[in-house]
Subunit: 213 residues, 2 copies
């Protein structure tokens, strides 16, 4: 239970309740899951009264949706924007996950909530589509003959590694990266390592902030 910053005098938790709630959500939903985290527990960790929590979020469902929207990942921070890498290197960099990556929170939410109509499930879907779109975009930059196909394939690999890591408790991203390398080489006609930041201006960036597994 990390001692979140208290007010200057230390007597009160002070004004940033909403941020503290979201921050506690990040920790608890990841460590214990959404369904197994009660609002009482969450408020205790956030050092926020339950009343305040329900003034910021009308329901737990809304909090969960906002939690996903606000997800600020340690992983995949901005691989797609790294101009120091060739497009091919950027595609591969998407598979370099820090050792302790839990299950992608978007997959976890979709499974736990079990309702495709839930706002969080909808957002998870949007997010996954956006990631695939950025992979496709980068695949196009890298000169792939069928960028959509390669983008979708790489997205599937990431999700596979994520799911498998969770079930097996053993790192699967290296395996996924190895597959990715093969697919990329297969998808680019004459192995043509293009220049970095060779933006052929085909598509704008996806509408969703990038991050997460």
């Amino acid at each position: 239970m990390t001692e979140l910053e208290k007010g200057p005098q230390g007597r009160r938790r002070g004004r940033g309740a909403r941020e503290r709630i979201l921050s506690a959500s990040q920790q608890l939903f990841r460590d214990h899951g959404i369904n197994r985290t009660g609002m009482d527990q969450l408020c205790a960790v956030a050092q926020v009264s339950k009343r305040t929590a329900y003034q910021h979020f009308t329901s737990k469902d809304e909090l969960v949706a906002e939690y996903l929207r606000r997800f600020d990942p340690d992983v995949m921070p901005g691989v797609f924007d790294r101009t120091d890498l060739t497009p091919r290197e950027r595609l591969l960099a998407a598979f370099e996950m820090p050792a302790s990556t839990p299950l992608c929170p978007y997959i976890a939410a979709a499974v736990e909530l079990h309702d495709p109509q839930h706002p969080a499930s909808r957002y998870a879907r949007d997010y996954k589509i956006a990631i695939a779109a950025r992979l496709t975009e980068t695949a196009r930059e890298a000169g792939a003959t069928n960028p959509e196909q390669l983008g979708e394939q790489l997205a599937l690999l990431i999700d596979g590694a994520s799911a498998r890591t969770r079930v097996l408790n053993s790192e699967s991203f290296p395996t996924a990266a190895a597959i990715a390398a093969i697919l990329i080489d297969n998808a680019i006609p004459a192995s043509s390592p293009r220049q970095p930041s060779d933006d052929s201006g085909t598509t704008g960036p996806a509408p969703v902030p990038v991050g997460g597994t």
Copy 2:
């Protein structure tokens, strides 16, 4: 609510309580998830009194574990044993999923239970390992230079397709199958379609009954 078979006279649900409970678990855990299925609801569908349910299973956790153990899948029924296919065809057949395949119940259970020590989570792990082993075995028969690697890769593809299908609500197995074909071709030195049932007798079948996503 499928009218499960009642006794000959129709007045009582009769003796097969345990089977009816497990059968109802299959349906409800798949359709509504484990956590969102209460024992009351489950007993109602199984047409079994709650008392009887708790005489067969000491706890819901035990029922969940048994549910996974008993999982009799529509999918992947016996691909590995089909001697009418070449090893290569058998590997590819593992990706032919019926249209309405929900999320692999093993992944779902691992995510929902969220406790790696839970018996069901342990079994899910064992199962996934067994599937990878059978894929490896078949890869070896197919003449792959590194069967372990190919087996693990194909297992990752299956899980990726499963997770992605769930989150996106759109079929991902064809994508996975396409990747599989590439990997298989890459992994077998001189494209050598061996004879069907070319059992080189390397390894016995995996200890876990095969099936499921």
